[in-house]
């Protein structure tokens, strides 16, 4: 079974999606600080910092893979951004808009597979689209004053790549690891485990 019976969200879908998002909201909050702190380390070539960008896109992919319902990827990504702003973020309330934008990207990846497949291709497509959305948003929001060839282009490409790898592949591995612990037993992602 790769699909739950209906598209209606059960309470457990809502709460677990929210918990994933909230947990990542806290991680975002911490990641904002890490991002700022590593700015020095990347000073030789700041666009390279985009390599660690993918972390910001994990909740969308993870939420989509775990909940497997239309809207899950968007909800998780958006709520995670919202929570990180609630906890205090240097990017301001605009980060909420950004989360929504990225969430739409992540959601489209699963929609493209008509919410039927939750394997690597879907995860990677979702992550890539989320990365694209993020990269476009950032170009306008943050990097408008930078040089196109030496800065904006590399940032764009690295952001999308980082998203695909960290959020796409990483999100899938994380889902599998979570399923292995038994916490996803009530989700399709956690079924098919041995009897004891």
């Amino acid at each position: 079974m790769s699909h739950t019976d209906t598209d209606r969200w059960r309470t457990i879908d809502i709460v677990v999606a929210s918990v994933i998002a909230v947990a990542f909201g806290v991680i975002f909050w911490a990641w904002n600080l890490v991002w700022t702190a590593t700015e020095g380390a990347f000073a030789f070539f700041p666009p390279a910092q985009a390599v660690i960008y993918g972390i910001w896109l994990v909740p969308g992919v993870l939420g989509g893979l775990v909940i497997r319902k239309p809207g899950a990827a968007f909800y998780c990504e958006f709520l995670a951004a919202f929570v990180s702003v609630l906890l205090g973020s240097q990017w301001g309330v605009v980060a909420i808009l950004q989360g929504a934008f990225q969430g739409v990207g992540a959601e489209l990846g699963f929609a493209a597979f008509r919410y039927r497949s939750y394997r690597l291709p879907a995860a990677m497509l979702s992550a890539t689209l989320a990365g694209l959305a993020a990269a476009v948003f950032d170009q306008i929001r943050y990097y408008a004053a930078l040089d196109l060839l030496t800065a904006r282009l590399p940032i764009f490409v690295l952001t999308v790549l980082s998203a695909t790898v960290l959020a796409g592949v990483g999100g899938l591995l994380l889902t599998r690891a979570l399923a292995g612990t038994g916490v996803l037993d009530r989700f399709p992602a956690g079924r098919d485990r041995a009897l004891v």
């Binding site: 059960r10 457990i12 292995g180 612990t181 038994g182 916490v183 037993d185 009530r186 009897l195 004891v196």
Partner: protein
């Protein structure tokens, strides 16, 4: 309202071969007050969840039927209120009043009626604070009472309580029982799960005993059931009143000092405490909720850094490491010397299966693999967990989880054992086994420190007691 009808009911949790509960036929009429008994793992919590309609079809397999007032409780939960064992996971909102109002909002109670009903429910359970108080600022007993108020505010026809006084100090437990006694009226059916029968008897007029293999073992008024089946039930693990347990006094004289706490404290959780722990002695730490007992246990276990004062180990316990404080020892060395059992067993689990959980400690302390296997098998057998060796620790019943957490601390054969509430939620049989286990350890020259609210346990085992008070009571 509130009649229960079970016909051939059975439930098997997803991922399990064995049925958690099976072959139960039961009728409970409106206004009856039933005490549901049974050995640990007999399926009491599962049955309550079924009555509350909280066993989703995708989480297991059902046999037979459950009906509350003639309908499947999954379809219509209006009539049922349930309070789980762990209050932490059932508070939903950040403020006490909002939490009680939550259920009323869900059921579409008109806005004007909500707050009067909230206040009435809080009054009925004797809740001492204003409804604006943050739920995070409540002690365990207060949380338990709030959860009860949340269930009562809905005016349920059927009230289900799963060990509502576990982990409460005797005063707090009595308060919750009083609240229940006040709250149930002729229209409310009550089904209560509680291991300690004696305290719960005044709340009920009927007992139902689940048989471990399936079906109902005994059913009727408490007096009759215990008169007819008392001895067998006691042997099977039910706490039958009037079947006292024999104390286990120390057979060997008290040995050397192991640990000394010198003005040890961790403000604001624990006020300064003086304490000596000796080999061959069972020390019980008592005190009300929030007195800092668990904090003391973690300090003695070398897991927390003391805020004030010092904790020193003797060479008898720590050899060359005696010069350093336990919280600075490397973890493998610590695990070989001091075993800790946490208050919440689930806080202690770090692996995915019961047998892995038991093997972890011995492996980390460097035992060879065959010795690890022997240790694990021995403990599984002794604490009756063999059947569950491959199960995920987090799916165990309350009592099973507690046994596993004790077993993990024993696995490294530490010289000193520090246990936080090792006997709560245990049936009589496991309880006796635990007493024997600890007594044997003590007689073999180990030190045993137990934090507990369990007066029977203290009477049966403890050589010495230490009573902590709440820090605010002293000021």
């Amino acid at each position: 309202m509130g009649t229960v009808r079970l016909r051939g009911f059975g439930w098997r949790h997803a991922g399990r071969r064995a049925w958690a509960v099976r072959g139960v036929d039961l009728d409970v009429e409106r206004g009856e007050r039933v005490l549901l008994l049974g050995a640990s793992g007999a399926g009491k919590s599962t049955l309550l969840a079924a009555l509350a309609g909280l066993l989703p079809t995708d989480s297991g397999e059902q046999e037979g039927t459950v009906e509350i007032d003639g309908v499947d409780p999954r379809k219509d939960r209006e009539r049922v209120g349930i309070v789980f064992q762990d209050p932490q996971t059932q508070l939903v909102m950040a403020r006490c009043g909002d939490d009680v109002a939550f259920g009323l909002e869900n059921r579409g109670v008109p806005a004007g009626e909500i707050w009067p009903r909230v206040d009435a429910a809080l009054r009925r359970v004797g809740f001492p604070y204003h409804r604006d108080r943050p739920t995070a600022a409540l002690s365990g007993g207060e949380q338990q009472r709030l959860a009860l108020a949340g269930a009562l505010a809905l005016h349920p026809g059927l009230l289900l309580l799963d060990e509502p006084t576990a982990n409460l100090d005797p005063v707090g437990a009595e308060l919750v029982r009083d609240a229940v006694a006040l709250a149930v009226d002729a229209d409310t059916t009550l089904v209560l799960v509680e291991h300690r029968v004696a305290e719960a008897l005044r709340l009920v007029d009927r007992v139902v005993v689940l048989a471990p293999g399936g079906g109902v073992r005994a059913d009727g008024p408490p007096g009759e059931v215990f008169a007819a089946h008392g001895d067998e039930l006691a042997a099977e693990g039910v706490w039958v009143p009037g079947h006292p347990v024999a104390p286990r006094r120390a057979r060997t004289p008290v040995g050397d000092r192991l640990l000394t706490a010198d003005r040890l404290g961790l403000p604001p959780r624990l006020a300064t405490t003086e304490l000596t722990v000796r080999a061959g002695e069972a020390l019980a730490v008592l005190g009300p909720n929030g007195a800092g007992k668990s904090t003391l246990a973690l300090l003695l276990g070398g897991l927390l850094r003391p805020g004030t004062g010092r904790l020193t180990a003797t060479a008898e316990l720590a050899g060359a490491d005696a010069a350093t404080a336990p919280h600075r020892w490397r973890a493998p060395a610590l695990a070989g010397r001091i075993g800790s059992v946490f208050q919440d067993p689930e806080h202690q689990f770090v692996t995915g299966t019961v047998s892995e959980e038991l093997a972890l400690g011995p492996r980390r302390t460097g035992q060879p693999e065959h010795a690890v296997r022997t240790t694990v098998d021995g403990l599984l057998h002794r604490l009756r967990l063999t059947r569950l060796a491959g199960a995920n620790p987090y799916t165990l019943s309350g009592g099973e989880a507690r046994r596993l957490s004790v077993a993990t601390a024993l696995a490294t054969a530490p010289r000193l054992l520090v246990c936080d509430e090792p006997t709560f939620g245990q049936d009589r049989r496991t309880w006796l086994e635990l007493v024997d286990l600890f007594a044997d350890l003590r007689d073999a020259g180990h030190g045993v420190v137990t934090v507990t609210h369990d007066a029977d346990f203290v009477a049966a085992l403890a050589d010495r007691t230490l009573v902590l008070e709440r820090a605010d009571a002293r000021r």
